[in-house]
Amino acid sequence: MKILVCISKTPDTTSRIAFTDNNSRFDTDKVQFIINPYDEWYALVRAVELKEATGAEVTLIHVGPADGDAILRKALAIGGDRAVRVDADPADAYFVASQIAAFVRSDPHDLILTGKETIDYNGSQVGGMLAGLLDYPFVSLASRLDVAGNLVTLERDISGGKEILEVPLPVVVSCAKGMAEQRIPNMRGIMAARTKPLTVMTAHPADPLTRMVAFELPQTKQGVKLISPDQPEELVRLLHVEAKVI
């Protein structure tokens, strides 16, 4: 089985969120980049577990400029076998999905994993678009994934619970919490990652469908109104009369 894990690069969760160029671009000054947590903790670790259990081969793919190589090396240290970087500005989710689809057409993979969304632009789009472009089945928000032969068993989040599904390969799956536990790469993994293949490919022609043109910060709160712990009735009154939420 060949597994493809889509890796995206996001600012660290503690990054200061600010914008430049007249609020049209995210300010990357002093920002540390990490592997998008959903891609790393769930998609990648589950792929590596499947590799350990079944001998699957794990390919990583990232669409972005050269500074993404560090992210790919870390993902290789966690357990990917080889990495591919499509050297292009990831203009929007459709553009990214088009690049990955072009790669899969030239180098077929059976199981394609993405994170449920990226923690920066919160699009939740690449996996579904990829499935649409390849005409593979798509299972979103999976919290469990097992493979037996050609059949994948998945648990996915639905409103108020979970659903258990069986889908034949090939399939695209977006991975959510529960699927695996975060792994810290060890020294052996880090050393091995240095010599694992990382191929750079040129972009496949594709046009983005959307564009982020401006950013703003949300309005800040007026300041907290403190209520004494022995006056819960006062909180009830404020919620009813002032905030009108109960």
Binding site: T13, N122, G132, D157, S159, E163, K177, K221, V236
Partner: protein, 330 residues
């Protein structure tokens, strides 16, 4: 030309996410001199409930009663919605960002080469050909304006962002045949685990959430009681889900579910930046924490500095009296 709204029932009943999407879609349609249609792919919804969508602005509801739509297979749904969109010449497709909506939107976008905005929080700003719409980014730490340049546009609306407006009117319900069949579905459902009787977190109006300050899973009874008097859903911080005090699906924040209820009550949660990211779109935030320096107070509207083990039961008692009409305010 029209606006097409995908309405998704829960257990055969149309609920708030469907009404929000419908009323959003019909307001959009009115602003652009277009008609608003709905498409429903669930045979179990009675015709009378679909007619009610007229009160939210639908002129006509296309109803495909094929059994192939159960269980949910996003590819099958995307192809059916596409067929409906082509039948009514939709320029804009609206859906709610539910669990299924998250899967449907991107597939539809790829099938139709139509730009998609996931988690829109507002009506679009239009000017000639320019179509721009706002959505949360960085888990709610910022808002982005997204421009969609394609002829057909898809909007996946964030639940609780735009209140549904109910008016008068009855929609016409028309049987629609998308042409999709059982043999198109590639997945098989082998089980469903539903927690019945609980309010679904993603579209709850009130959420009671608790963190490590609760000390252990055995203390969650008071959180559930508070949630019950309020008709609220329960949520938790990430470490609480990580150590399995609470189920994963309750985890809210930047790496959990992002929610925007009308009222979010946080008990024993410090208010780390990653937690705030998923909840700071809530209209009103109440924080109960024994540490006056807890960062959450900076993001709160109301706060009580005190021990949760005393404050929560007392608040629950006060709310019971309020709900029983035993409290009057002047």
């Amino acid at each position: 030309m029209s606006v097409l709204v995908f309405v998704e029932p829960a257990d055969g009943v149309l609920r708030k996410p469907a009404f929000e999407a419908m009323s959003y879609g019909s307001r959009l349609a009115a602003a652009q001199n277009m008609q608003a249609y709905a498409v429903c792919l669930d045979e179990s919804v009675p015709e009378d409930s679909l007619k009610q969508l007229g009160a939210y602005g639908a002129v006509k509801v296309l109803h495909d009663r094929s059994a192939c739509f159960r269980p949910f297979d996003a590819q099958v749904f995307a192809r059916a919605v596409r067929a409906a969109a082509e039948a009514v010449q939709a320029r804009i497709i609206v859906l709610s960002l539910t669990y299924n909506g998250r899967a449907l939107g991107p597939l539809l976008s790829a099938h139709m080469q139509a730009g998609l905005v996931t988690g829109a929080i507002d009506f679009p700003e239009t000017n000639g050909e320019v179509f721009r719409i706002r959505k949360n980014v960085f888990g709610g730490k910022a808002i982005a304006t997204v421009e969609v340049a394609t002829a057909v546009k898809i909007i996946a609306l964030m639940p609780n962002a735009v209140a549904p407006v109910r008016g008068e009117g009855v929609a016409e319900v028309e049987t629609f045949t998308s042409g999709l069949q059982e043999s198109d579905r590639r997945m098989r459902l082998t089980g469903v685990n539903k927690v019945s009787g609980k309010v679904a977190l993603s579209d709850a109006e009130i959420v009671v959430s608790a963190g490590r300050g609760m000390k252990g899973p055995e203390n969650w009874g008071m959180i559930e009681e508070l949630a019950e008097v309020l008709g609220a859903a329960t949520a938790c911080s990430r470490p609480v889900a990580d150590v399995h005090w609470r189920p994963h699906e309750e985890h809210v924040g930047q790496t959990g579910l992002a929610i925007r209820p009308n009222l979010y009550i946080a008990v024993g949660i410090s208010g780390a930046i990653q937690h705030l990211a998923g909840v700071n779109g809530s209209k009103v935030i109440v924080v109960i924490n024994k540490d006056p320096e807890a960062p959450f107070f900076k993001a709160a509207d109301y706060g009580i500095v005190g021990d949760a083990f005393e404050v929560v039961p007392a608040l629950t008692r006060a709310l019971r009296r309020f709900k029983a009409g035993e409290m009057t305010f002047n």
